[in-house]
Symmetry: C2
Subunit: 768 residues, 2 copies
């Protein structure tokens, strides 16, 4: 059964009462991150129950040797794993010499809170040790948005029924292993342990990739809120540095430890400067003090929420769910570093490895584009631009040439990590999403210049791929694309996947259109790119031959584009006629049965209708929705959002709301019984899209036009969302009776909207 222990609250995730069964799930749900580093909500003190320790640093990875059944040529040799990093939060605690461990105490008044408005994790409870001492703990922790290499902990212990000694032994443990190591190897080497007065650090490096990381801590202590100085004992072990402080307390006293931690890495510093940098970080934090640092955190999150928040009235759980999604997306990626991306588990776990999937372009870019400065989306595009050489190498490994690129299915540094042939080699539609991301960005921002400066090279390499990947079928007298896997991964090695073929044709045509415009408007860039890529007019005309003569499987009688060749040979039985006991089919059916069934994992033909809504009529959309949605099992977290959006756009609000519900509280209610492994970060962007693009009907069209078509589920009183559109903050409010638009100054505006002329109060207000 789903878990149901999270207390509904508009702004916080709350757990009341201690249950050891929920510890690992809560470690995921209450994770904190700042886009650069983050960690699971592990306890600071020792805990002898089941726990999954996880601390992560953005961009630091290890190429773990792949594990396969039968090797296939073209498989990558390594799988880039998100690395579990040294633990900086740990504090061994003893009360009168007895180790304090939640698992062996009597606990009462346990409360855990993840305050999403302010960006901190809190915990408070009373504990009675077996030896009889009663203590009250109040702890708070965050990783700083403004100082993104720094984290801070405030940890109070109140002596409730005794006078005696409280021992705080804060430590850095650099001996952490990955839970998902393929061959149970330890991925780090410890280089140096630096001890000092109240502060210290460990320098370690990753094997093979040789990332150097310095992890520092600095300690301050207080008694009854007064800073105190306590003699420090130091313990240095092979992979661990511990400082021991003994504080004498009287009954009623509160002994407090402040622990500041920092990660710095060779991504940003010379190896020789790392220890100095990390120690300087914790020193600065200590000098600023916990509360002042927290104040900056609260301001930073207020700023994030200003353009990202969605308010739902009349449904607290829905409100909590949507904010949790937005909060986690922001904890995972803030867009300030073009080397980072949106890992599938963010900083909440390490499953799946790699940091970057096509989810970024297909699902995440719209969220970041609409809730942040345009630079953030641009950084996501630059990430791929910077990895173009690797994408070309990747295609070469599969036999492509002449600068054709195949972007990886999963990656950390541009190299392919995934190794199942039907995905790695065949799920090539991801290449189309790279171009769609650019198209989407240019439409939204009107920053066409990105194309001549960067995007065009990516687009050319991808057009080359499609041109080479298609072949001419004598039998069909058309170009075909054989042996692919579409977004619906319940089909493998199919021919002429409609979505893939459509994207291929569109990529070529859009690239040629852009080439023509760049040639006219950006002559210098045009010359540079042509010279760099050796592109000729002859070659582009070869591309267009493929695009112009692309084959699409179509059934005349049903007036239906087919997901792939032969789709109508399958037995078509709607999902709702399947016995419940047979679902989810990915748990109940053998793989071959899934493959030859008609059932669809996530939008495939309909993904095309979502991407290119303007190319199809409403009648076509209805016809395809009515054929494909009833045979879709939505067994990917990325499925419901697209269907919610399409359903809303053809006035099927009950279906849209049903689909919305499937994603909104996926992790909070642990639908799939796997939240202990980490949260589903990328699909959270889909949840946001369900509201903004689905219920709100927001669209940005090829001509740059912005439009809305707000509808509201019958279950809600009202909702509102805010977007940043070309520097203008627009808030959309929709209740059961009203629809209003506000500008940044919270003034209601009547307006709409062509190109950059947004938010100018106007009588041309159009809801399409």
């Amino acid at each position: 059964m789903n878990k149901n222990y999270i207390i509904p609250n508009e702004w916080s995730i709350i757990e009341n009462g201690f249950d050891a069964e929920n510890v690992e799930a809560s470690e995921s749900l209450f994770s904190i991150g700042n886009g650069s580093m983050g960690q699971r909500a592990n306890f600071e003190e020792d805990y002898s129950g089941s726990t999954f320790q996880g601390s992560y640093i953005g961009g630091i990875y290890y190429p773990d040797k792949t594990r396969v059944g039968w090797w296939k040529n073209g498989y990558p040799e390594y799988f880039a794993k998100v690395l579990n990093a040294p633990n900086w939060i740990g504090i061994h605690i003893a009360i009168n010499g007895t180790k304090f461990d939640l698992n062996t105490c009597k606990i009462s008044n346990f409360k855990r809170e993840l305050n999403m408005k302010e960006g901190w994790l809190g915990r408070s409870f009373n504990a009675q040790l077996k030896t009889g001492e009663q203590i009250e703990i109040t702890a708070k922790r965050f990783v700083s948005i403004d100082f993104n290499e720094t984290g801070a902990i405030e940890y109070h212990i109140k002596a409730l029924n005794f006078s005696g000694e409280i021992t705080y032994a804060p430590y850095i443990d650099a001996g952490i292993e990955n839970e998902d190591s393929n061959y149970d190897e330890f991925f780090w080497e410890i280089l140096e342990i630096v001890e000092g007065e109240n502060s210290g650090c460990i320098l370690s490096k990753t094997l093979k990739t040789e990332f150097h990381v310095s992890t520092a801590m600095q300690i301050a202590l207080a008694l009854n809120n007064e800073e105190i100085s306590v003699g420090q004992e130091t313990k240095v072990e092979a992979k661990k540095l511990t400082y021991i402080y003994k504080i004498n307390v009287k009954e009623g006293d509160i002994a407090t430890i402040y622990k500041f931690g920092s990660y710095v890495s060779s991504l940003n510093y010379k190896n020789s400067a790392l220890n100095e940098a990390s120690l300087s970080n914790v020193q600065n934090a200590t000098e600023l003090g916990f509360q002042e640092l927290l104040n900056t955190q609260i301001r930073a999150w207020a700023n994030i929420w200003k353009t990202a928040d969605i308010v739902i009235e009349g449904d607290v759980k829905a409100q909590q769910g949507i904010r949790f999604n937005i909060f986690q997306l922001n904890q995972t990626y803030l867009g300030t570093d073009a080397r980072l991306n949106i890992g599938p588990k963010g900083f909440t776990g390490e499953k799946y490895g790699g940091s970057t999937y096509w989810d970024t372009e297909a699902y995440c870019i719209p969220f970041y584009m609409a809730t942040k400065d345009d630079k953030v989306a641009k950084n996501l595009l630059l990430y791929r631009y910077n990895q173009l050489d690797k994408a070309i190498e990747n295609a070469e490994k599969l036999g492509f040439k002449n600068g054709a690129a195949l972007y990886p299915m999963v990656t950390m540094n541009g190299e392919e990590c995934h190794n199942e042939w039907e995905i790695t080699f065949e799920e090539i539609h991801r290449n189309g999403a790279m171009v769609y991301g650019i198209y989407n960005y240019v439409n939204y921002t009107q920053d066409f210049e990105y194309i001549p400066k960067n995007g065009l090279e990516v687009m050319i390499a991808i057009a080359r791929f499609w041109h080479q990947r298609a072949n001419f079928s004598e039998a069909k007298n058309k170009y075909v694309i054989l042996g692919v896997t579409g977004p619906n991964e319940y089909e493998n090695n199919i021919n002429n996947n409609f979505y893939t073929n459509y994207l291929a044709k569109w990529c070529i045509e859009y690239t040629v259109d852009c080439l023509n415009r760049v040639k006219k408007e950006y002559t210098n860039d045009f010359d540079r790119v042509i010279s760099k890529t050796n592109l000729t007019a002859q070659e582009t005309s070869e591309w267009l031959k493929v695009a112009d003569n692309m084959y699409f499987p179509f059934d005349e009688e049903k007036q239906l584009f087919l997901q792939q060749d032969g789709f109508l040979d399958k037995e078509i039985i709607p999902v709702n006629e399947l016995p419940k006991s047979e679902r989810p089919i990915n748990q109940k059916w053998s793989w071959d049965r899934i493959l030859r069934s008609c059932y669809i994992k996530q939008a495939d033909v309909l993904q095309c209708f979502y991407f290119f809504e303007n190319k199809f009529s409403t009648k076509e959309l209805e016809n395809h929705f009515d054929f494909y949605e009833p045979i879709t099992v939505h067994e990917s977290s990325l499925s419901p959002c697209v269907h919610a959006i399409l359903a809303a756009s053809i006035d099927r609000m009950p279906k849209a709301y049903e689909q919305y519900l499937r994603t909104a509280r996926l992790d909070l209610d642990d639908y799939n019984h796997e939240v202990h492994e980490g949260c589903h970060i990328t699909s959270m962007a889909g949840t946001w899209m369900s509201v903004v693009q689905g219920f709100g009907g927001m669209r940005v069209w090829e001509d740059g036009m912005l439009s809305f078509n707000p509808q509201i589920p019958a279950e809600w009183k009202s909702y509102s969302f805010t977007i940043n559109f070309r520097g203008n903050i627009i808030k959309v409010y929709k209740s059961q009776t009203e629809c209003k638009f506000f500008n940044e100054s919270r003034n209601e505006v009547k307006m709409m909207v062509a190109n950059n002329e947004v938010l100018i109060p106007s009588n041309e207000f159009v809801i399409i």
Copy 2:
């Protein structure tokens, strides 16, 4: 490059001169076996160079935990591995206290011989130790055909230039590990070590499967050919039993050790009787003596060759090659035990695991049927009959019901071992081969009674599978079979593989035909089977609906059955236009490129023409051969034989000979650079078929008729082969000018041949 060190010889495999580079290849090539046990040609004495120790016992396996990338529902949890068994051949040797090791001596006159006529392995050489002693070694070893739990070694050392002490320390080492263990585990537990005077044994059991095995040895010694008695020292270690004998020699003396070994297992004895049985075996062998035991071996092999030999005049390498194939097939399987089968590496290595593939029914049965008593082929059929329940379970795991069976792709005990979805779940044509094996057997032997007694139950379960596996396509108004892999494993997850669909239809029709005949002629058996299977007339009529309306992909213009739906969408370029640098494509191309290419790994549509030659016209065969063979890369060892046979049948002798050459010396010349892992046993049956069915044109037709159509490659002077047809020995002789037939008494006969009336001299002699 291919290896080329084996000396051509008509009856022996010979290696002259010692080259450490060839040790592991020779260990495979010079392997010995008797169908029940066998071993690689490891040296008896210590060898510190690269070596792959391998001793195997038929039917003893271990379920090693599978290794996969991403788990798919339906995968088996375990892979049954051929188990590397305790080593009984080992003899530590010391000369004047210095350990003797070929890797550290100066070696001359090294010769190794595998005498295929008599069934033994010999080795002789001179060695000079670093300490100066020169010795001459002559060793001979075999595993007995008649006493199939027993092996024997004769090992002479002549002291060439010294007087002193020769130490023989024969041992049993039960601490052997599998080279291909998935997780480096040791698969055995040692239960008991029994020491005695000159004889002893170790009782061990396999983990999980709990096979108990007793491995015994008994020692006799001689000096200058006179039996001697020498004081025995005993050393017992955790997994090893060693006896130490020190023999004083004078210059010119020959010190000899005879070591007899035995494996007995819980397959044939109670656990409590194993040690007694193994010790009794070695005692009997010792009493019989090495030479007398060898005499029985020579007689046994003469008997095997009587009905199995192929003589080629004018080409010694061809002669050696074909005899090596026949010899290894007989070493692997003799057909006396219905629990055993023909492992892909026989007793020459452990790669691939499992013992049984569809190779048995498609390639091996014809060989064993024609060269041995009918009971042997029947034992192979009974092997599958006995595993029917497991095949039904296997199908249930994939979602089939009502007694439908899917025989495993690879197995040891009936359970599926293989775990790549595209093979395990989809290469279902193997099920058809099970029925074809029965059909082939009944045609050849006219033992129809096998069907009512055993075969029918298998056939019903398989017909049920095909009926459930097909589905009705509204679009085609026919039954289709979606999501399969054909014999050509360079296509995966295809729809309507012609071969698979044809077999499915044929299996149903043949089963219904047999049901009708059994109903009439074997009423009791019919009632028993119907009652056991709950088969109704309604159900068989449902089967026939599928068979009668089966869809076959066909191109009208080319008048061609297509390998699968959409095959003509591929770019068709003949193999001979591919650059040599790109072949073999399975080493040079990525898997996706192979999949979407037109290239065929092994006969697929043409496998159907081979199985059902009588259902197609010569013109149809020519048309299909001319389309498919030129795009076939023959990258399976099972490919060339079928093409050789079909080429011969349409008078394309050069093509037939070209294809024959690709298999005949595959291992001897190590074409694929992998013979060190073991020999390709099952494809050796294909080599035999290339001669007998290909050049010899032997056919047995559905009406029981036997026919020949001998042709001869231009490169040969003559060839002859012998077959056992319903108890009649027929020898076919073909030279460039003559074609003759002889009976068992070597009298030339003119005859031909309907039903059981073979070998009756007659004027109706027909060569079709």
